[in-house]
Assembly symmetry: C2
């Protein structure tokens, strides 16, 4: 008889973390009259746990930049400024560009082929798909590049950045036009990878992401947050 060990490392905190994270990402952070203040006790009540494990989760979420804890003031969902969003995209470009470079050097044919497969969905019917769906697939495409770089850390670090993009989407995306351009970019990236041209792949990925950078800078809807500190 053969038994798999039971994973005892999952604790209450982990469940709380998932719930909280999902709840925060589900919020329309940038909405006008949205209440960004959280209340520890009330949250603990709703989740049916005590404050202690909840607080540890809140601290973790603070580390990830999703929350801001202000001593004796309150806990707030963190709104990112345009400048911060732009910096995240720059960092993302840096990481993914490196991932593309590594992928061009070391990824298997099958791995690169899997990218083409993902892109194929849009190459023909590019105008038919709706934005939201494309946006998800788009993220997956980029994560796949990070995966096939075989450098886990790049993926992990980028993941921490993607999280924040989720909220931004509602605010700065939206032009139909970009989808078509994006598809073209993706094909260019795939071709560079297939050609094992690592500098070219790195450049194309970086340029592609930096185009998003410029787009966000241009179309960020200035419903600016008023809070200072």
């Amino acid at each position: 008889m053969q038994l798999q060990p039971i994973d005892t490392s999952v604790t209450l905190k982990d469940h709380i973390y998932e719930r909280m994270r999902a709840a925060i990402l589900g919020m329309d952070i940038y909405g006008a009259g949205v209440d960004l203040r959280l209340d520890e006790r009330s949250l603990a009540d709703q989740l049916g746990v005590s404050r202690t494990p909840l607080r540890e989760v809140l601290i973790r979420l603070e580390q990830e930049g999703l929350l801001a804890v202000k001593p004796r003031r309150g806990i707030f969902v963190q709104r990112k400024t345009l400048a911060e969003i732009l910096e995240m995209i720059v960092a993302w470009a840096a990481l993914e560009s490196m991932a593309a470079r590594l992928a061009a050097e070391a990824a298997s044919e099958a791995e690169i082929a899997s990218l083409r497969e993902m892109a194929a969905k849009y190459s023909l019917t590019s105008q038919g798909a709706d934005i939201a769906e494309y946006s998800d697939d788009n993220i997956r495409f980029h994560q796949r590049i990070l995966d096939i770089s075989h450098c886990k850390l790049l993926g992990v670090m980028a993941e921490g950045l993607f999280v924040h993009m989720h909220a931004v989407r509602r605010r700065a995306m939206g032009e139909e036009d970009r989808v078509a351009k994006s598809v073209v970019d993706h094909m260019g990236i795939i071709e560079a990878l297939e050609a094992r041209d690592s500098p070219l792949a790195a450049d194309r990925v970086r340029d592609h992401t930096m185009r998003l950078h410029d787009h966000v800078r241009q179309f960020w809807r200035a419903a600016e947050q008023t809070e200072t500190s």
Copy 2:
């Protein structure tokens, strides 16, 4: 009369964090018979605080990859595997390469000049300085590049990576030879920045850091850790 507001946001936790972090970084993590287990209660006693704030600090340190908390087993200082170290260096190269690119485009003359100043110390007397001192100045040089990119996030993310290099130094550095080569690399980087050649600057920074990558891979002393989980 003019008064500056008192910063009330510094709390016990922050002090504990500093102490713990310094203590951990000061440890010879990779020593042979080093005890990597920490005891919450004992630490709380030593610091003169209760477990609660200490735990929050420990969780933060876990997030940063310095500690590993194993439920009902203990808290351990995290040893990095060679693979993990190498991935960190890759990520570092990605971030700093991007920083160099931005710096070449946007840094002021004065900022670039400050790099030359830092490098000057070693350009002539390159053989005189001891390794430890050079190593510190070396880190500062790289942080300066991240600074003058004017992208804070790149610096912050790289900082989180540098922390781990501290412990690695004892283990994989040491050849006098590398100092001289490193100095040459630095001058090349500075020249590319001065020429405002951003692709070249990015390439040189990346190559330089990836040379460290190769060096570590080659000279990592295999006194391998035995623990599995």
